[in-house]
């Protein structure tokens, strides 16, 4: 394919994905819809690659020529193709409380946009990604009625809807370097930025009454860095097997920004007050194991730890009506150390057989995870999230390009102590477009 045509195809792909990419403005209308995203920085969203996504969500040691996992930059060293990956997801969340009341939220969103290319094939690779870091998206409504008018002889019905929107985004760029056949290292610079907004909208059934929207938002931005390492071992438990250990550490991030409280929306938005402040996000540790006994099977086991109990914020606590309400909601006391354990497996029935049938060359993945959530709204009850994941990866006639379809189903929270339990189900579509690019072909 001529270079221009290749660029055209990739450009078209990127443009379409970017149109729906998680830009700060657009992402605010998307999300997975859990009331727990009201706390902390919102729901934390982690996406490394579509492969790891279907295998429990870890994959910190999962090396593959068809993917460039984002969670561990050391894995970017082992690249052959220039790769553009885009992911879109749809998730439906139903929520119930201890009284048996239930509600449902569903939405679509872009999971990630990743671009990777090798500077030196299988030795030094570059990775750039843009994806949501956290997202706040919840909605709960209370209804009531109020006597209105000079004689207060008319009852007007109203709804007060509490909702959250926005989130932080992460723009990551970095390098992965393969030191030798066994050891790879990598490092990234991560820019975190975005706006988290909590809204309280009071709407009236009677059109003559003006609706009210009070928004408490915080705009944050800051830099951090992630360091990663990967150790690849062969013939460990059996001949021709492969065993890998991967780890990464993200340094604490100091985000600066402005907190605000506004009235109304759009052009009529009236800023009641603003306040500058800083928050410090905790460091993150990731450790993963990957084992490939043969060409058909891959098994992973991963763990993650984020000490969110060390989170700090110097924003004020909402002392008066015009001052924004406390950020994060409920204060830092609602945050707890987070850990996550995941495991998964992939099977490619054809193994290395390039002549096998189409579905034998497809990859079938499944996994699961358990997570102790980093939010603890009542400051007492520890919340957990459990989910099963699965996916299928379809090869295309274009070497290096795969189309993945993943699904997840799980539950989080509890209905005790006035809390709620979410049951969620999601599907996602991933396009992993890879071609040799920027590389001079050798004359034969």
């Amino acid at each position: 394919m001529p270079g221009f045509s290749r660029l055209l195809v990739l450009g078209t792909c990127a443009a379409v994905i970017l149109l729906a990419a998680p830009s700060p403005a657009q992402a605010q209308s998307n999300g997975e819809g859990t009331i727990y995203s009201r706390f902390g920085m919102g729901s934390l969203l982690e996406f490394s690659s579509s492969q790891s996504d279907a295998m429990g969500g870890g994959g910190y040691a999962l090396r593959s020529l068809n993917y460039n996992p984002d969670a561990n930059p050391a894995l970017w060293s082992d690249q052959v193709f220039t790769r553009l990956s885009g992911s879109a997801a749809y998730r439906s969340t139903s929520v119930e409380d201890g009284q048996g009341n239930s509600g449902r939220l569903s939405s679509g969103n872009v999971q990630a946009l990743q671009f990777n290319f090798p500077l030196y094939e299988r030795s030094l690779g570059v990775g750039i990604s843009f994806q949501p870091y956290s997202r706040s998206n919840y909605s709960a409504t209370r209804t009531g009625q109020e006597s209105i008018g000079p004689r207060q002889d008319a009852e007007a019905r109203y709804e007060t809807t509490f909702s959250g929107s926005g989130g932080l985004h992460r723009l990551r760029g970095g390098l992965g370097y393969r030191v030798n056949d066994m050891l790879s290292v990598g490092a990234t610079a991560d820019l975190l930025f975005g706006t988290l907004e909590r809204r309280r909208r009071t709407t009236w059934a009677a059109p003559q009454l003006r609706n009210t929207i009070v928004s408490d938002g915080v705009q944050l931005s800051g830099l951090t860095s992630t360091l990663g390492g990967h150790l690849a071992l062969a013939d460990v438990f059996a001949e021709d097997d492969a065993f890998s250990i991967g780890a990464s550490v993200t340094l604490p991030a100091n985000l600066s920004g402005e907190q605000y409280r506004t009235l109304d929306e759009d052009l009529a938005r009236d800023t009641l007050s603003t306040e500058r402040g800083d928050v410090t996000l905790p460091w993150k540790g990731r450790l993963g194991l990957s084992y490939q006994p043969n060409a058909r099977w891959t098994v992973v086991l991963d763990g993650a730890f984020d000490p969110w109990s060390t989170f700090s914020s110097d924003f004020s606590t909402g002392a008066s009506e015009t001052v924004p309400s406390r950020f994060p909601a409920g204060g830092p006391g609602t945050l707890a150390d987070r850990w996550r354990l995941s495991t998964g497996a992939e099977v490619v029935p054809a193994g290395d057989d390039q002549l096998a049938g189409y579905f034998a060359q497809a990859a079938y993945r499944f996994g699961g995870y358990v997570e102790r959530m980093y939010v603890r709204p009542d400051q007492e009850t520890t919340l957990y999230e459990f989910a099963l994941t699965a996916g299928i990866s379809l090869p295309t006639s274009l070497s290096g390009t795969r189309i993945d379809l993943n699904t997840t189903a799980g539950t989080r929270g509890t209905t005790t102590n006035s809390l709620v339990r979410d049951r969620f189900f999601g599907v996602s579509l991933h396009v992993n477009f890879g071609e040799r690019w920027f590389q001079r072909r050798k004359l034969r």
């Binding site: 000079p150 009454l209 003006r210």
Partner: protein
């Protein structure tokens, strides 16, 4: 791989991905989760009444109009001239505080383009002249007749837009026949003029157009010792000249040109306990001021305002109405607000500029609320209060310092700029406004707010 093969799945993927992303966030939002953690609180609207400081104010109303000059005026006054009236008589309303209100009517007539030949040629002895007046207002005792007297004005009177405290000089002797009486309950009354007046003014009566108007200054009509005030339509008032009788009679009407009512009050006492008195004609009204820096308004400076009304009730049940006593209800009110220095212009808060020099704005009212109340609708009261809150928050004075409420008797019209600036018709009606209590309650602003 050929481009054509790739293009077969690539667009499908892109569309599929975009479809997933573009799935609109749909929600079956419920109250589930409201109590999670510290709970989702606030946002409950509440309605509160805020009473102003109220004091009496007196501004003599405009009671004069000139029909011709109204043609070039804004629609409000042009339309109003058809309903305009002038008053004659006096009334001692049983409502405490109203005193005895005495009114003197003034009317001037326009010249005719021509005069019928029979009238031109008739001798003054063969002519009769009478005022023909259509009654459209009665305040007082309706039984019995009223003695009326008509006097010549001694000079041209500038009645146009004259206020009720003005008066114009009249000749000392009446020109109406001795013992002229009218029945207030009649829809049309006539007052015959003396023959001597006809003889003295025959030249004027036979002149036409502006010659007549230059020579004739008009009449003053009084009703001494009357027990009612009668209103006459300005547009149908006429001076009729007649000769002959029966089927052979020839008549010519001189149409009304200007009218004016002088109104004065004597013996006014205190209104009933618990009430303030507004009284038409004498211009007695209320001046209201809200204290934005005192409770509860000082707590609402930043609170979102969902609805606002300004409400001035008329407690009609408090008015005593003896048998045989007529007292119509006023068909409207007028609220004129005075802008603070540097405050937004009148239209910014939905009101109408009355006078730039006086920083005066007229607030539109809900027509259907009259006569039970003067009600400023939400689309005027809300921006007024909202902007006032913002200004006070910025350490400025509120948009309006004072709201003056007066009776403005007029036809029920739609809320528009023309109707808003239209002055009320001359009247003598009283209105009792409670100063406390619950129903109908005192003058107040009713605000529905959603606390932050």
């Amino acid at each position: 791989m050929p481009m054509s093969m790739r293009s077969s799945w690539l667009p499908a993927l892109l569309v599929g991905g975009a479809l997933l992303v573009s799935l609109t966030a749909c929600s079956d939002s419920s109250d589930v989760g409201l109590g999670v953690g510290s709970g989702l609180q606030g946002g409950n609207p509440s309605t509160l009444d805020v009473t102003p400081d109220v004091r009496d104010t007196t501004v003599a109303p405009i009671t004069g109009i000139t029909r011709d000059s109204a043609q070039g005026r804004p629609p409000a006054q042009s339309q109003n001239q058809n309903a305009w009236r002038f008053l004659v008589g006096s009334v001692d309303d049983p409502t405490p505080g109203t005193g005895v209100v005495t009114t003197d009517g003034y009317v001037d007539f326009a010249g005719r383009d021509d005069l019928p030949e029979d009238l031109q040629n008739a001798s003054p002895d063969a002519l009769t002249a009478e005022l023909r007046l259509t009654t459209d207002y009665l305040h007082g005792h309706s039984s019995g007749t009223m003695d009326v007297e008509v006097y010549d004005l001694t000079s041209e009177a500038d009645m146009d837009s004259a206020r009720a405290t003005a008066s114009f000089d009249a000749a000392p002797s009446p020109v109406s026949v001795n013992g002229a009486q009218i029945n207030p309950s009649d829809s049309l009354v006539t007052i015959r003029l003396q023959e001597s007046w006809i003889s003295e003014n025959i030249g004027t009566l036979r002149s036409t157009g502006s010659d007549f108007e230059d020579a004739f200054s008009g009449f003053k009509i009084v009703a001494p010792n009357s027990e009612a005030v009668v209103g006459f339509s300005s547009s149908t008032a006429s001076l009729r000249l007649r000769t002959g009788s029966g089927d052979d009679a020839t008549t010519a009407d001189y149409p009304g040109l200007k009218t004016f009512t002088h109104i004065e009050r004597t013996g006014a006492g205190a209104p009933p306990p618990g009430y303030r008195l507004m009284q038409g004609g004498v211009g007695k009204g209320l001046a209201m001021e809200w204290a934005f820096r005192d409770s509860p308004l000082d707590t609402l400076e930043s609170a979102p305002l969902n609805q606002a009304n300004i409400f001035v009730p008329n407690d009609t049940s408090a008015l005593e109405t003896p048998s045989g006593f007529e007292r119509p209800q006023p068909q409207g009110y007028r609220i004129i607000a005075t802008r603070s220095s540097g405050a937004p212009s009148c239209p910014v808060v939905g009101s109408v500029t009355l006078s730039d020099a006086n920083e005066a704005c007229v607030l539109p009212l809900v027509p259907s609320a009259a006569p039970a109340s003067a009600l400023v609708p939400d689309d005027v009261a809300r921006p007024t209060f909202r902007q006032s809150f913002q200004r006070v928050r910025d350490d400025q004075s509120p948009v309006f310092t004072t709201f003056r409420v007066h009776i403005a008797d007029r036809e029920n019209t739609a809320v528009n700029e023309a109707a808003t600036v239209r002055p009320g018709l001359p009247t003598t009606l009283p209105v009792l406004v409670p100063v406390d209590g619950t129903e109908p309650g005192p003058p107040r602003a009713t605000l529905t707010v959603t606390p932050l």
